[in-house]
Symmetry: C2
Subunit: 404 residues, 2 copies
């Protein structure tokens, strides 16, 4: 770090009369039965084998940003990644970035902030085949743009990206401040390509969290992989030794901005909605069962057919039938209304997996006949390789990639 | 109410196997020193002399929606307003709207939800002079589109509106659910014209609340009118007997979507930012003083000039110099980025006043020379007359206006 030009600015920290943000440890808050606002727990540890923000219990709010790299200088890119790492370490601890901190998070606690970085396929080789940063040989084979799926309605201007940062926190102002701070540090090196705010988590990533509801009104992520599923995480989330070495302990991130056709969905009576999803609306129980965590019984019969229809979302996406699993940590969004006054709202889908081919791609192919497809539209798509965590206080995002 | 067509649907309430939302009273939460997420207090009372959501301690999140009325039927409009009132009463109590509730707020507490309705100038007479609802004679003289101010960069498609609803809550999902529910009840009568989400309050409206920071990084609203300022509220917020009778106890609402040129602002060193605002960045003290609530001393001198520059925002907007006051309850917003990758972020300004001419218009005229103008752009503007509160359980939004 010492040799990197920007480190000095960050290391100067809270001098110059600027008061640091709260850093005193607070006791963890009790788990609440919803995505409701809550007091913020102790800072989330930044250093670790894996990056924080993946199996970390999902925070309530999201600010996601994808960047294009606008420099051709590998050195400048590396310096920025190092400065980002130092800043991320301070921000997640609830501290200001430096003397010229923009200030809007002063006085706010760490709020569970995590910052998670990922590298897109175009960082390794541009669409027209340019190896800007001598990284082409280090591209993981699985890090390619996702295939086209039936029904995709993607907008390229809000898809893809050379880099991404996922900021999650229990206070949106803290997430926004973190993204703004990284954007400022990246001036001349990166440019914001697209961003997405999410106001409410739609998945639990810990068994200690209650299952939230998405904007379809249904509990989402009941059968999600959770932080406590140790061996399943190794199998389905963390990149192993069968992939490129620099990515070991990392994970692949897939994002999809899934617009929900809210007005159409709201016309559908609840029993039909339940048949589309495969769960009851109020309890979130698999159809044919009574409680949310009752086992999903695909053999159960109702009338002259299966209790859980074979074109329901639960049937087609369930590990039993898709043959795989991934860790979801998506967020609800409302981005106003479109030109016809319809809500531009839905789910910003985020999933982490050991390999996109056997994760999102496999599940999404299995969803081709999903009854839910009538009510949703995929508008944005991106895939990133998220490196392992910072091993110590001197480590920086991407070191394993850039240090040959 | 009994004669209104839609009331029956709403009155049926939580029947049909749908479990109601949490309605048990909770103790009020302690005030936190920030806009941080917090546990939700007891439901805010819906019935009252004034509508809730004006002097109610500002909640953390906003979903604001402006509507165009698409029917010519006064009867349909009145029926919708009555059904909205009944729904608002249920929603703010933390209950579901009815058996076909969309569901995403099930299990969530009331979260301090308030719903506040307003009537725009075009409800009384369209831009081309049509008196659709026999209301022209009842239009308050002060309810006219705001004048054009120097520097305005308004987008008509996100300005104005025949009706508005301001939904504020401490959980964004609760605010979103409320707006969605009213939109559903309004199908065929109104159409969404524009909406704005706000993620963090930028004003306190109670002396029990700490002053939050806006996206300029400064504490905002230190000298705001507060719920506890009894006689000042009568003077500056509530419509009195000098206006049309149906609006007595109501208030005028002005909204302005003020984009902040964040990247430009972030280039300005803190001492210069402080001179633009007129307060210190960290403490929020008036320049020349030490603490946030120290008196603003416009006679204080620093060097060879006034401590608080005469073109600073505080100098020009302060009641002492603008000659008036209003109650602000704005919210920070981030709506992604523009085509050049710059943050589309700022302040969704909301102010309530007894009269727009002697409220927002007077202050805004005084701000013509504001040093802050270089860093902001007004992109949307609207004005509404907000009727008094529902006097009892049978009252409905607009009764005093529509019942001649």
């Amino acid at each position: 770090m010492a040799g990197l030009g920007t480190a000095g600015v960050l290391a100067s920290g809270a001098v110059g009369g600027v008061v640091g943000r709260t850093t005193a440890a607070r006791p963890p808050s009790p788990v609440v039965s919803s995505s409701t606002a809550r007091e913020s727990p102790t800072p989330v540890e930044f250093t670790g084998t894996h990056q924080a923000g993946i199996v970390t219990p999902a925070q309530d709010r999201l600010h996601f940003v994808a960047f294009d790299v606008v420099t051709d200088s590998r050195e400048a890119l590396v310096a920025m990644l190092a400065s980002w790492t130092a800043a991320a370490r301070r921000l997640t601890a609830g501290e200001i970035v430096g003397p010229d901190d923009s200030g809007e998070a002063q006085g706010l606690p760490p709020s569970g902030l995590t910052l998670t970085v990922g590298f897109g396929p175009t960082l390794f080789m541009t669409g027209d085949g340019v190896d800007r940063f001598e990284l082409a040989a280090r591209r993981p084979k699985s890090l390619v743009e996702l295939p086209v799926f039936p029904g995709d309605a993607l907008d390229p201007s809000i898809s893809g990206g050379d880099l991404c940062v996922q900021a999650c926190a229990n206070d949106p102002q803290v997430a926004v401040h973190a993204v703004r701070s990284l954007v400022r540090l990246g001036v001349g090196v990166v440019r914001v390509r697209w961003t997405q705010l999410g106001f409410g988590r739609t998945s639990s990533t810990s068994t200690a969290q209650a299952t939230p509801r998405n904007l379809l009104g249904f509990k989402d992520g009941t059968a999600n992989l959770k932080a406590e599923n140790g061996s399943a995480l190794e199998q389905f989330v963390w990149v192993g030794e069968d992939d490129v070495a620099w990515l070991a302990g990392g994970s692949y991130l897939v994002t999809r901005r899934i617009r929900m056709l809210i007005e159409d969905w709201d016309q559908v009576p609840a029993p039909h909605q339940e048949a589309v999803i495969g769960r009851t609306k109020t309890a979130g129980a698999p159809l044919g069962q009574r409680k949310e965590f009752d086992p999903t019984d695909f053999g159960a019969v109702r009338g002259d057919g299966p209790a859980i229809p074979h074109n329901s979302h639960v049937f087609l996406s369930h590990p039993t039938n898709s043959g795989t699993a991934m860790l979801r940590r998506g967020y609800s969004f409302v981005d106003g209304t479109d030109d016809s006054g319809r809500l531009d709202a839905g789910l910003f889908f985020i999933a982490y997996q050991r390999n996109p081919d056997t994760g999102f791609v496999q599940v999404q192919r299995n969803l081709a006949a999903d009854a839910l497809n009538r009510f949703i539209q995929h508008r944005s798509s991106a895939v990133f390789a998220c490196p392992p965590g910072a091993r110590d206080a001197d480590d920086w995002w991407g070191r394993t990639l850039f240090e040959a």
